[in-house]
């Protein structure tokens, strides 16, 4: 390991070091504020260190990790996502769990896992990143002890996610048996030289895809999603829906790109097929939900469906840069939006111990009581619905471009259809939020701390900025791909 290697890995090192520091801090002083502050600080530092690391990127550090701009971009995203989650969690976890300090430690480890996934170019690092992310999440989901729903959610997630991991591993084992290598790029080179027959390769790849598709909650592997999202504490749901998904998606995309799995047309067509199913089923399932968390869970299924269009768009190799760009932009936009949406739910139920989920009528008139939160929700919903001037629209526009350029008409049609259905449930939230309140229908006031307010403002500004002035990010993405 050289100095350059350390520099390239500096985000990971900062996060891991931060985790150690946190552990020590907890051992000596239990203080939520301090832990939270340290967490946010560490993540900010990690995000900053990405800039440092970017100076020498791309650099492969051991066969496991590849520090390139693509990975670093997502590290920044995940660290910011983690920091936002930490900020949002502070009040929430104080009221919902005892000994809340380890929560932040787990969050840090989880973020580390996500970052590892972004770096991963090897089965081992993929496996470890995935599991680091997941194992921390099991604990995080089950963290609140005032309610039983988190337990149920964690148990479901653990069992199913474990099964999915095992499936993916088995698939990798088959690929390894056929090719003799665990590095993605080398794997791609060996695929055509194998003596074991194409069916093993295809089956292995399909099993890998199944495992990762489960984590992405693609239809038909989506059934767990609403239950887990619903039961998990709201900030963690946000983290799960944004950072965790983005990390897995990045890893999957990198696997496909590096190993050039796009050569198996049937595999890519299956991704397209599942994308269609996800778009339709996700939107249809969300249609009449009154529980906002579940609604957002279903909508996240749909959004992953939109995102999976990228894979089909990648079939023609000269379209891959555009498609990857689109994916990256989409993930950034989607992460910001999701954190905003779930952040709002966090703030609403932060002070209500007994309330784990938020029904539509709970947010009746929110816009009038808490204009800032209402505004945040409005922006988040519009962004999810893909209305121009929000990040979600530019992201969708990117997908449109990638898909049109890749001639994926059926997917586009489904995308439009799905978006059409989606408008209904997103706007229903807006409608409830802007309802005039009857006199007798008094909603409890929500106390919002100053840092949550600041975060809300930043998120609103971020989403709008990504939607109105996307050029700088686009240019950056274009330059690194």
């Amino acid at each position: 390991m050289t100095v350059a290697d350390f520099q390239a890995l500096s985000p990971l090192l900062v996060l891991a070091g931060g985790a150690t520091v946190l552990m020590l801090q907890i051992a000596f002083v239990r203080s939520v504020s301090l832990t939270a502050a340290l967490t946010v600080l560490t993540m900010a530092l990690a995000a900053l260190s990405c800039v440092h690391a970017a100076q020498i990127a791309p650099l492969q550090v051991t066969p496991l990790l590849q520090a390139d701009s693509f990975a670093l971009l997502f590290c920044v995203l995940f660290c910011i996502g983690g920091a936002a989650t930490a900020l949002l969690s502070q009040d929430y976890i104080r009221h919902h769990g005892d000994e809340p300090e380890e929560y932040f430690l787990l969050l840090m480890l989880s973020t580390l896992g996500a970052c590892v996934l972004a770096y991963a170019v090897h089965v081992a690092s993929l496996l470890l990143g995935l599991e680091l992310l997941s194992v921390s999440l099991y604990a995080l989901i089950a963290y609140p002890n005032k309610s039983i729903l988190p337990l149920e959610a964690a148990a479901k997630y653990l069992v199913l996610s474990g099964a999915a991991s095992a499936t993916a591993l088995f698939g990798f084992a088959l690929l390894y048996a056929a090719t003799g290598t665990l590095e993605f790029t080398a794997l791609g080179q060996q695929l055509d030289n194998t003596q074991m027959g194409q069916s093993v390769l295809l089956v292995g790849a399909a099993m890998v895809f199944t495992g990762l598709g489960f984590k992405l909650s693609l239809v038909p592997f989506h059934l767990w999603t609403p239950d887990v999202y619903d039961g998990a504490p709201a900030p963690i749901t946000g983290f799960l829906a944004s950072v965790a998904k983005a990390a897995v998606f990045v890893a999957l995309l990198r696997l496909f790109l590096d190993a050039d799995l796009f050569r198996y047309r049937i595999l890519v067509e299956i991704t397209g097929f599942l994308a269609i199913l996800s778009m339709l089923a996700g939107n249809l399932l969300a249609l009449l939900q009154t529980n906002i968390k579940r609604m957002l869970a279903y909508s996240s299924i749909a959004h992953i469906g939109y995102l999976m269009i990228i894979f089909m768009a990648c079939i023609t190799s000269d379209n891959r840069n555009l498609a990857s760009e689109a994916a990256a932009y989409y993930l950034v936009a989607y992460t910001a939006t999701t954190i905003a949406a779930f952040g709002l739910l966090t703030l609403i139920c932060a002070h209500q111990v007994e309330r784990e989920n938020v029904e539509l009528h709970h947010i009746s008139g929110l816009f009038w009581r808490q204009p800032l939160l209402g505004g945040l929700m409005l922006v988040a919903m519009l962004s999810l619905a893909g209305i121009p001037l929000t990040a979600g629209f530019v992201a969708k526009f990117y997908i449109f471009n990638a898909a049109v350029s890749g001639h994926n008409w059926v997917l586009l049609a489904t995308l439009i259809l799905g978006s059409g259905i989606g408008i209904y449930y997103y706007l229903r939230v807006v409608y409830y939020m802007t309802r005039r309140l009857e006199q007798h229908h008094v909603q409890p006031t929500v106390v919002v701390s100053w840092h949550a307010k600041a975060l809300s403002c930043i998120l609103i500004a971020g989403i709008l900025l990504l939607g109105t002035m996307p050029q700088s990010l686009m240019a950056y993405l274009r330059s690194i791909l």
Binding site: A155, L160, S199, L202, F209, F214, L223, I266, L284, L288
Partner: protein, 611 residues
């Protein structure tokens, strides 16, 4: 001629002022404005007419270009020739008298101002109609008078029946107007202009007599004329339009607006001459209408309805005249009809006014001595209507009948039909006189008409009597039939028929009255009377064929059938949601099974494609 634009402007201005006053103007002032403006117009018309009679020069005035798109450049411009002068004179002259009469008739009405506003607006629109130098401006006036007619028929808006009558008037005429609208489109598309004189020239140069296009175009124009002039088959609105105040009926539904169709055909006679089948249709429509309306008038009870049917019938004569090519005679009859029918309506109005709004003639009677001015007016009017010799109606109707006779081929048939109509006219008009003014009184009048009413009546009496001696300045403007050499026998029959009608009426209604009662009570007689009373059941027919189906359709569609499709989409989504959501059982084992299911599916697809 610079005063031309003043002619429609006076009433228009007056109408605007009356509208803007929002009903708060003192009655005296409103009356002065309302009648005075028409009077001023009449003076201007007189000036114009004098100039025209002096030199016979067509006068034109362009105010501004209405719109200019490509070569479509209709102007707001006036064209004054003999025909226009006649029409303007009738409109402003008779109009002024009726306005004068109205002041007294409606003095107690709360909407006095509104009334005069509408009336003035009407006069302005009617003037535009006759003065227009192009068909589009004519159409503006045409629709304008229709709208005013609607407003005035529904003037007493509290009674929904009046509203229904008004709407019927507007919608039925609109049917005709739409045909005319299409006619205008056809003319413009084919000939490239709507200015009447160039249009005629272009038609003459581009089309031959009997071509399809002129026939189509004139047929469409005829549609408009039929609607406005209450001819078959669009005549049904006029009797109902009697719901309006009586002076309105006099002005709009007798003297002026309803004759617009006649004017339209006369104005475009060169076009119609290119289309002999249309012209024949005009004649036949006129004949059929005059007979149908004549029979119907025989069976009515309502004094105004009788007059309304008689109007329809008389316009039938005008159409007959136009159809046989006697355009000038048609216009002549238009003028005399304006005089005597206005007189009749105003006299009827005076009766109604003095008898507390009584309309049923069988509740009147014996008014001869009680309302002498009215009686004499009515008598003179009826005489002119029945075309008794030396009244104005006699000259005009006689000219029409003789023109029909001279037409080769179908002429005698038309003549005979017209003669039958004349007989009917004699019967029903004197039936009215005898029942209302003779016999015993059923209702006592509580007032006498004042000087304005009486004055208007007297002037119109004079006009009805002497109107037949006017020489209309139509020579060279409109063609006419020469009937100097018609045999005396024919002339004699023509003169005698109305007298026969008078005699029959006398026998039936002023004599013993035995025969008519027994006739009416026989089954056949009763059926016939009912049939005629209902206007040959045409209203019912239209109701069953058009009105009800339309209402049914509207009712059937009222909840938006197209939405069924979208609602089905919504229902489909909801159904799919319901199906999918049942998969979310919350059971971990089932979730695991779905995972395996997906895996099995994926692997199956892979294996299928690998081999």
């Amino acid at each position: 001629m610079t005063t031309l634009w003043l002619i429609p402007l006076f009433p228009l201005l007056s109408a605007t002022l009356l509208v803007l006053s929002a009903g708060r103007m003192p009655r005296q002032l409103a009356a002065l404005l309302g009648a005075g403006s028409v009077g001023l117009s009449a003076i201007c018309v007189a000036l114009v007419a004098r100039t025209y009679l002096a030199d016979g020069q067509v006068q034109e005035l362009t105010l501004w270009t209405w719109m200019a798109v490509d070569n479509f450049t209709p102007r707001i411009a006036f064209y004054i020739d003999g025909l226009t002068v006649v029409m303007m004179s009738v409109i402003t002259g008779v109009g002024f008298l009726i306005h004068l009469y109205s002041i007294e008739f409606l003095w107690d009405d709360e909407s006095f101002c509104r009334y005069f506003a509408y009336m003035n607006l009407f006069v302005a629109a009617m003037l535009l109609l006759v003065m227009a130098d192009n068909l589009l401006l004519l159409y503006l006036g045409w629709e304008g008078v229709g709208a005013c007619s609607y407003l005035l028929v529904g003037f007493w808006y509290r009674d929904p029946d009046n509203g229904a009558a008004a709407r019927k008037a507007f919608v039925v005429t609109r049917v005709g107007d739409t045909a005319m609208f299409l006619g205008l489109l056809l003319l413009y598309t084919e000939l490239g202009t709507l200015d009447i004189q160039p249009l005629m020239a272009a038609a003459n140069s581009q089309w031959q007599v009997g071509d399809t296009l002129p026939i189509l175009a004139t047929a469409l124009l005829l549609g408009g004329a039929v609607g406005k002039s209450a001819q078959l088959p669009l005549h049904t609105w006029l009797p109902d339009a009697m719901a309006g105040p009586t002076p309105v009926s006099a002005l709009i539904h007798a003297a002026t607006m309803v004759t617009a169709g006649v004017y339209l055909i006369a104005r475009n006679y060169e076009l119609f001459l290119l289309a002999p089948p249309t012209l024949a249709a005009v004649a036949w429509i006129g004949l059929a209408t005059l007979l149908l309306a004549g029979f119907t008038a025989l069976a009515q009870h309502d004094i105004k309805r009788i007059l309304a049917y008689s109007t329809i019938s008389q316009i039938g004569y005008m159409f007959l005249a136009l159809g046989v090519g006697a355009f000038a005679s048609g216009i002549f009859h238009l003028m005399t009809h304006a005089f005597f029918k206005a007189l009749l309506f105003l006299a009827a109005g005076a009766v109604i006014h003095c008898l507390h709004h009584e309309h049923n003639i069988f509740r009147m009677g014996g008014l001869r001595r009680r309302l002498p001015v009215v009686f004499w007016s009515f008598l003179i009017g009826s005489a002119a209507l029945a075309a008794l010799p030396f009244t104005s109606g006699f000259y005009s109707k006689d000219a029409i009948l003789l023109s029909a006779w001279t037409l080769p081929g179908i002429g005698p048939w038309l003549w005979a039909g017209g003669l039958l109509g004349a007989l009917l006219t004699g019967i029903y008009s004197f039936r009215l006189v005898f029942i209302v003014f003779f016999g015993e009184a059923h209702t006592e009048p509580d007032q006498q008409p004042g000087w304005r009413m009486s004055g208007a009546l007297i002037v119109l009496c004079v006009l009805s009597l002497v109107g037949g001696w006017f020489a209309l300045p139509l020579a060279g403007v409109l063609p006419d039939k020469d009937h100097a050499h018609v045999s005396h026998a024919v002339e004699f029959i023509s003169i005698g028929t109305p007298l026969l009608g008078l005699l029959i009426a006398y026998l039936l209604f002023l004599g013993r009255q035995v025969s008519i009662a027994s006739l009416a009570e026989s089954p056949w007689g009763k059926a016939l009377q009912d049939f005629w009373y209902s206007g040959w059941r045409i209203d019912k027919l239209y109701d069953a064929l058009l009105v009800q189906p339309f209402k049914c359709l509207a009712h059937w569609w009222r909840n938006e059938p197209v939405d069924l499709f979208y609602n089905a989409l919504v229902a489909l989504s909801r159904w799919a949601h319901g199906r999918l959501i049942t998969l979310q059982t919350g059971e971990l084992r089932w979730y695991a099974t779905s995972l395996v299911f997906g895996l099995v599916l994926l692997l199956a697809i892979m294996l299928r494609n690998a081999s």
